[in-house]
Symmetry: C5
Subunit: 253 residues, 5 copies
């Protein structure tokens, strides 16, 4: 079973993903300027040399499937999602795309968010269990976004929670996990260690100064992460390709 389903997404063993599900998770207010247009983003992903693009079903189906993009950049289909409107201390994010449909749309991986520590974590472990198995049967990678969140989670960004998230990713059989930064290379290294053969990429987060994000990326790469999924730091930037190049310098070299 040691098939490397991540292979299509790697360049020099590293991954640089452009995430573009903010319109669902945060609302279009995040999609400033041209970034409201999926084609702009897909062009950006290709031009920037990203090794994967993260889309929800609708954008994949209407802008990616059977287009030139399908041949030039591999797709991670994010198959669950929620809005930020309901006020729920213990979140759950439901599936809106089947793994089979993701395959039909040309995806080579599926992504699923788990809110670790939520009162509803049991539903997400169950969902991901089925997703992971179906993905592997279809020879696709399963990627888990694992974010500690819930009424019992005091600090979502604590090293303890981050390392726990990394380990749960491994135990559940994710091929790759997307987790948040926990403050230092040293603590992040423990997450990498806990994740074992499950690969880690950094979740980019809200836009910050170029220097800050580059420093963070450098830190996680040194710690053993294999890449990053960026979004707002790119398409909210005045010069997305320039910041992309800087990031590539850190990730791939």
């Amino acid at each position: 079973m040691n098939n490397n389903f991540l292979q299509p997404f790697l360049h020099k063993g590293k991954a640089l993903f452009l995430a573009y599900d903010h319109g669902f998770e945060h609302g279009p207010k995040d999609l400033t300027g041209k970034s409201i247009d999926p084609e702009y983003i897909l062009d950006l992903a290709v031009k920037g040399g990203y090794t994967g693009i993260i889309l929800q079903k609708g954008i994949a189906e209407k802008y990616y499937t059977d287009t030139k993009y399908q041949k030039t950049i591999p797709l991670i289909l994010k198959i669950n999602g929620k809005t930020n409107i309901p006020q729920t201390a213990d979140p759950y994010s439901s599936i809106n795309c089947s793994v089979d449909y993701a395959k039909r749309l040309g995806a080579k991986a599926v992504g699923y968010t788990i809110y670790l520590g939520s009162k509803h974590e049991e539903k997400m472990f169950y969902d991901f269990g089925k997703i992971q198995e179906q993905a592997h049967k279809l020879k696709m990678a399963s990627i888990a976004w694992i974010y500690p969140r819930g009424s019992a989670v005091e600090d979502e960004f604590s090293p303890e929670m981050t390392v726990y998230a990394a380990r749960v990713g491994l135990e559940l059989g994710a091929d790759m996990i997307k987790i948040k930064y926990c403050g230092s290379e040293e603590t992040f290294k423990k997450a990498v260690q806990a994740a074992g053969k499950t690969k880690i990429i950094l979740s980019g987060g809200p836009e910050v100064e170029d220097e800050e994000i580059l420093k963070t990326i450098e830190s996680v790469i040194k710690a053993g992460a294999i890449g990053i999924a960026v979004g707002r730091n790119i398409f909210q930037d005045q010069n997305p390709l320039a910041i992309t190049e800087k990031i590539k310098g850190v990730v791939f070299d």
Copy 2:
């Protein structure tokens, strides 16, 4: 996958739908005069040159399927619904017709209401995910009614909520969405932009003065919407065909 499932519903690239599910959603009190009779409405839809008729399962099965209407006006089968009787701040509307059955009844599209921001939005995203996939497999369009509603939604008609609704329609893979007016051409244009390749039609709403509805339609068409679904403004009007003609002047010309 770029099949245009909406084609049967378009005239000059525009859509003019007659909606007739008020008997379920609001009760028969909305169905004044002859409008209580589905045949009257179907005749009106044909005579008026509507490009689609929106019905619940029962009315479709008894008045549309295998009748002359099936040949003259395409059907959008509304497959979920609820009454206005239970007092629930966070609504959910359950499925009462399968996509397969809608196909058997002659529908070329299915419609499903999502209450965006409801505590139960997760169930509706899940439902719509399955509906959308099944509809596309059967070569039918999937149309989402997306209405912000719930204890966390302060203003259902705010531009922010409307633009969010439009985007979620795209992300979920709806071919078309039916949303409400948010006050101006300028703000509605942002919704059109956010929806991208997902087409937008205006949800007509309660009866208002002819001038007001025509002005609103003009505004959304200018903003890039491709049409409108009307109901009460037509069949509660003293002269439904006359107001229909006026609307067609705005929509198609």
Copy 3:
């Protein structure tokens, strides 16, 4: 799809059903005298010239299926039910017999109760949606008992609620609905109108004076209902066949 699944149940276009699910819904205390015995009731139904008998699964399977009764009176299998023991303001009644099994037992129609306006109405709309489709696939009629009930329902017998119930029956695709009297021929006529091609029968209710029930039946028949389902007014009567004859006089003549 214009198959008339109700045909087996009609005499001169009218329906007279003997309902016998009180042992489940209200407890055996309703089944006074000989009426505790299903064979007595089945004999009564045949002798009385009823056009249909309403039974729950168990009584059908043990007293009707493969007996002489199966050849002499058509069966409506009531496939959901609840007791009156739990105190719930917003009722739900669960399915205890599949449509396929009802078919095996010889039923030509299935019956299902919807408590309109209950907080759980969504579950009943969903259940009935599946039942209706399966029934039609098996060439059986789907009959909905639609009773307004729930914490948000102020008056279960108001004309407004009754007309709403009738309309929902049509919208959901019921072939026939069983509803309660709302006080006058005039108001009941509105329910008939709202139900369109969905046929209406009166729900008989608790035992009252002969004159009263006959007057009510006359009123609903004039209003356009096609019949009545009686139970307690028959088998709690001293002379069930005599009152049956009187009812037939009103219904069929």
Copy 4:
């Protein structure tokens, strides 16, 4: 459909079952002395001339299936169960064995407990509905334990509740029901009458004086019950075979 699935369990038209699910329902404290050992119980059932043995899945699979017992005493597989640990006013008992698996284990009937009047009765009616149909398809009897219990049940042993339980057993299509004593032959006779062609056996209950249990059995047999399921009154007795003989004297003669 008049197959008599109960035939394997009857001797002179009567039934005498040894129930042995107390280890699940009450905990092993009920299983005094040698009765902790399933083989002791199975031997006792055979020696005592019981007409059926009631076991949960695990004990059936490990002590009954493919053993000498399978040829000498027919099995009722109890397919749901709960412990007495959680404090719930409105109980529900979940299924832990499929009907198909019960068949594989050699059972000729399945047993299922319904807590009548519990807020969760709807789930049990639904479960039993599916169980009953599957059992009959596999030519097995369906037996319902029907016990009034819940926050709305004032007196679990009242004649009114007992008669209601009996009737619900018939309406749901149980071939046999196991109910509790309601105080007198006269009142129990009403339960027998309400159950019609559904056979009734008495639920033995906690250990009491020999005279008392014998008197109760005599009372229910006179009332028309066809037997009894005993457990604690047998295996907590100093001389199980002696009390068995006395019971047989009452049941079979």
Copy 5:
């Protein structure tokens, strides 16, 4: 049906399992030193002569399946799990791996945790019911971790609860159960007796002094348990192989 699915896991009729799901259940903080690395643990299991290794899906798939380990030590795939983050008095642990997938991964048994007495015990009985049947169909053993826990459980380690847990394991059809120590050989013997043909292994628990764990193991083996599942007492020990040898001395000799 008397297939001995436990055979692959026994040495001289005894079992010594190395459990390694702490990263999921407690977080990586339990995995001190080299024990964070699954290969280290797998090597340890082989070198130590363990008769089985307990892993969650992800670690099995990435470190065990199709490796040398698959040939040298049999796998128990733990198919449910939860974190210790949400504060829930009445726990439930959801399934994250199907029995079929466990088979594909090379497992010869599946493990499932039941929190006996939890308000959600009904869900776990239901889950385990399906798991057990599917495991046996695939010729795999079903092993239940049975831990009394919930708002109604006063003392999780009381002899009464422990004996109850053991019995429920038998009644549910587990081939083996993993339970906790209840204080003495005498009381544990009652658990062994209650479990009958269902085999018992001790759940090792948190790290204690070598002498203490050895004494406890000796006690349960004398009581009739067939082994122990150890974890923290091994990999948190300074010399895991040395303590392993001592344990083997107690278990196998």
